[in-house]
Symmetry: C2
Subunit: 406 residues, 2 copies
Amino acid sequence: VTVEIDPGRFLSDLQALRRIGAFDGGVERLAFGADDRRAREWLLQRFRDAGLDAEIDGIGNVYGRWPGATRTVLTGSHSDTVPCGGWLDGALGVIASLEAVRAVREVGAPPGRGVDLVSFADEEGTFRGTLGSSVFSGEIGDRELDEARNSAGTPLRRALADAGWAGRELAQLDPERQRVFLELHVEQGPRLEAAGIQIGVVTTIVGIRRVAVSFDGRSDHAGTTPMAMRRDAGAAAIRFAARTLDAFERQRTEHTVWNIGSLTLRPGAGNVVSNRAEMLVEYRDATADALVSLHETVERIAREVAAEHGCPCKLRTTVDTSGVDMDPEVVSTIEAVAADAGAGSLRMPSGAGHDAMVLRRRIPAGMLFVPSRGGRSHDPAEDTDEADLVTGARVLARAVERLIAA
Amino acid sequence: VTVEIDPGRFLSDLQALRRIGAFDGGVERLAFGADDRRAREWLLQRFRDAGLDAEIDGIGNVYGRWPGATRTVLTGSHSDTVPCGGWLDGALGVIASLEAVRAVREVGAPPGRGVDLVSFADEEGTFRGTLGSSVFSGEIGDRELDEARNSAGTPLRRALADAGWAGRELAQLDPERQRVFLELHVEQGPRLEAAGIQIGVVTTIVGIRRVAVSFDGRSDHAGTTPMAMRRDAGAAAIRFAARTLDAFERQRTEHTVWNIGSLTLRPGAGNVVSNRAEMLVEYRDATADALVSLHETVERIAREVAAEHGCPCKLRTTVDTSGVDMDPEVVSTIEAVAADAGAGSLRMPSGAGHDAMVLRRRIPAGMLFVPSRGGRSHDPAEDTDEADLVTGARVLARAVERLIAA
């Protein structure tokens, strides 16, 4: 026998979860907010209905264990969203994993084997990115939890207390039991759609550096101050940004992507020379070496431009996560079951971070993607064809089945 | 006899005007606001005390005519300020001109000759830049006055009514009577101070173009969208700005100055590709040909970058004033009287606009500058050494005397 999902049940649950926090086609379930809490209580019941020993733990993870198993596949994702988010990001992986549990239960797991299920808390970083999976993996401890706050300044501890979850036990990853983690997710990019392929098999999750770059100059009248007497922080920032974009283009690897998505000049008037410029430079690549090399480029250009313009430059790294390769055996397994299910697949990196990145630092892990219409995500326009959703859930269930038997 | 100003009287009036709207070393007299009105009522009395037939007209100009004269030199400046402005900008020219009137009256003017005096309204553009001088010169009419509003949306007409000046006659330039206009002003730049010279003789007031440049792109996830599939309005804007700065550097004339003082990326997040970028590009030069040539450069680079990045570009000119040369004979006269007064002088362009620019389109005009400490202006730090203020007022009075006799 091969596991078979129930597409109607799967899609029905996906739509049910969509209704919690729904607005104008999109969904908003900010971590520990009312809708996120309602969604987790609803998921808890579904996890129990699927026969799991399930609880919401002390960080808000909805966590279900297969009764009687000593060796499991852990599968899941997250059910919180960004502000004004889409309906599939995270939710798809949680409901497809729930359906995989039900499908495996229907055909039966080998003795002592089973599937554990999780919806991690606050993957999107309302308080801290990949919060639930990082606590589950033991990467962060009490001190970081004491200090975490959302953008409104609310302490994480108070949000947990308001949710009624403070003081509960924290579920912990057990590598002896959970031998592998699987996560299905929307691609959040345009590659699969452009290639006409249904399944993306993630080979690596890229590392991210985000650097806040500032230049300080002197504000002067832009009509009466000769060009040679200016210390123009705006001109310095523009030249730094342009040279950095050009340099990244030259030194890119096959996985390098970058972005300067924020740039501000102050005081910001047409006829006043800028005394301050601030920008965010972000770059992602698969290896630590590549990230270091990109960072050296940023530092070199910043030094050069600061000297040329007489505008001191400061660099402050605000995000620094390492890239991780997915487990090669899991990658091959996903490819094989996709082929068995008649679905095309494409090996690809993930340019976004995911809970699988955190789990992968402790146990083997793999991820599969389904296409995102127009590449859109973190937006109410986020969507995927129903047939692709079903194919994704089916491949996930078969990969789970293959891996619990391994 | 040569006219001689009374430095104590001159400086005392300058300090008296400084107290109206004073704060923390700076002055704020926004056009038609309470302090601007108080200052104009105070000036009106001073103009009358100096023996002039003086009124505040229907646009707020304080205007005094020399009784019995049929041929005059017109001299003055403005007494309004920018928000949080300095104490000398405009005010210095008005009080020095008042002192010139008094000094000429003391030695006597030739028969039928005299000095007319003006403090123009709203030079700084609370409602419209060089408003008072433009109405006085007949450059703008009722329709523009009907439409003018300040940044809070208050109509100019209401502000004039609140001031009690609505419906009054509008004083008009009379080129048969007023043969020349003279304006003393602070340099607002660092050249005179750097050169150690007391008097700047303005040869030309540069023209200004300010262009609002925007690029439209598509917002995408900056991690999951391959570089080649992006339409990054931010990258387009950065490359446009850098190439424009470089191109201006190559094609500059001796008078060209430029500034990109405002640049905004939207939505403005480190991990989101920008779907919109907006900036202000401003450039100034002495001749219309030079401005046209700079504008062609902007248009060419905008077209190139828009095509390279797939991001349509829009250019909207928001400021477009022509440069004007000061009258060569007036320039020579100022130089000569400066030398007679033992003051060094330097011919220089004015990078900022002034009322003299408006008057010059109808009658001969000239301007002289005194040094600005540290080049600062439009700021409470704006200041000039007392000795330089007195030298400036003395040279102005002697230039007035020389020109009324001409």
